[in-house]
Amino acid sequence: MSIPLYFAILHNKTDSALYETFLASKDSLSAEDIPLKDLYPFIANSAIDVIDNIQQANQTNLPYNKTHLHQKVQDLVEANMNSKVEPNKTSFFVENILVKDGSNKSLVQKVTNTHNNPQNINSLPEGSLFLGTIDEYDGYLVSSYVTYNNTKFMVISDKNHVMNYLQLQKFFLNVHDLYLKHLMNPFTSAKGDMPIKSLLFDAKIKVFGDLYLLS
């Protein structure tokens, strides 16, 4: 029994979500039972900055300077509480985010109370597509992979989930293959950020997830 993994594909220019889903094993909890489920998109969105930093600095080893990230998630959540976030800016389903009653504050407190305990992956080659675990956020680990045209794949898992990096790379690689097939279709707009709606794409991601990440 484990908490489902969150997986998202983010567009290279606009950073909006092309595809996102939860990957869960068979006997998993239902949607309502996932703790902080609405927070995942914010974490993913905030980690984009970290990826940009990595790419500019050409460094792939932890630790990165993460203070800005935590600030950013906090800002996003607070801005949402005050309804200041324009939905298109953050690109996720902001208007539905958790907080519509008084329970907000505890969440924010929980969010800001983080522990710096990142898992590390050593010695990735320079310019690697696979970035390993790039960040840790209140027990949620963000692992990422960047394709050549800077489309980002992200998996968020909680710290109790044992992540095998070999399996994770295999998962990302197969998703990359699938994404490439989607991109090669002349009727998917290469510039725009239309979400991926193919049923088979969806099904295949789930099978890959179960094959590589959950077993």
Binding site: F93, Y148, L166, K181, K191, K197
Partner: protein, 286 residues
């Protein structure tokens, strides 16, 4: 805001997947077997042919040619030129007389984005798993799915493959990592390596030969030129229009490599030996 923006109802957040549900949905299972579906097509990772192409230029060995023949990995240049010139003619004469450079550039841009990702992915070094048709795939092919809902019949569960079967089916069609466990790649970290990559690999992939030269134009590192003495697809007619298309491709490649590209222009250079010696000038944003 569009409710279906992410392919699901936004009120409910991201989808929760339970794989047991897959087994109940006949349409998805059907699509696993649908060879015409894009996501099932094999061959994005045909390392053999691209390596042959890159190593030997256009001259392919007999074996490689046979392999290519079976899988249809190359086509004739004349077919390409016929189609390209006809489309350019249509765009210039029918669609837009005044703004055709932009349209051609945009089409090239679309092509460039895809080519960049595709060529890079092909030069990635994971193993291609064996594509031999195993008994299991045969079995998968033989499943008959009953989904003529119009007659009121529902899916016969006993005919649906178990999830184990789906997994093994998938794992025979997936890409495998090499034993080192690291994805080696050619991600381009400096603009010069990107230029060399365009001049060498991408040019070979598209036209079967290298571009002849790279030149730096400005002192301040903002303009570079790729020079091709004898551009293959510009060799017949309309070299200027075809070059606009190629400029679009270069722009697409440079932009998808995450560099800010202001413009790509083309110029036909005067040369005694080559009629169509072309320079593609890339101007970066400062």
């Amino acid at each position: 805001m569009n409710n279906n923006l992410f392919g699901y109802e936004q009120d409910q957040g991201p989808k929760i997947t339970q794989l047991t549900e897959l087994n109940k949905d006949s349409s998805i299972l059907n699509s696993f077997n649908d060879k015409n579906n894009v996501n099932n097509q094999s061959g994005t990772l045909d390392l053999e042919s691209i390596k042959n192409n890159v190593d030997n230029g256009t001259k392919l060995s007999v074996n490689a040619a046979k392999k290519n023949y079976e899988e249809g990995h190359d086509v004739s240049m004349s077919a390409y030129l016929f189609v390209l010139l006809e489309f350019i003619k249509t765009i210039v004469s029918d669609i837009d007389n005044t703004n055709h450079s932009k349209i051609l550039g945009d089409i090239g841009h679309d092509v460039g984005i895809r080519i960049y990702e595709l060529v890079n992915f092909k030069l990635l070094n994971p193993k291609k798993s064996m594509s031999t048709k195993s008994a299991l795939i045969e079995k998968m092919d033989n499943y008959k799915y009953i989904d003529n809902l119009s007659h009121g019949s529902t899916l016969n569960i006993s005919q649906v493959p178990s999830s184990e079967e789906i997994y093994s089916y998938i794992s025979t069609t997936t890409v495998e990592l090499e034993e080192s466990g690291v994805i080696k790649n050619l991600k381009h970290l400096s603009f010069i390596t990107l230029l060399q990559f365009i001049q060498d690999t991408i040019w070979k992939y598209m036209f079967g030969k290298k571009a002849d030269d790279i030149q730096k134009i400005n002192e301040d590192d903002s303009s570079y030129a790729i020079i091709d003495n004898d551009p293959l697809i510009a060799s017949l007619v309309l070299p200027a229009k075809v070059n606009e298309f190629i400029c679009g491709i270069i722009k697409g490649v440079v932009e998808s490599a995450n560099y800010k590209c202001e413009s790509v222009n083309t110029q036909i250079l005067e040369d005694k030996t080559y009629n169509n010696k072309s320079a593609y000038i890339i101007k970066l944003q400062k």
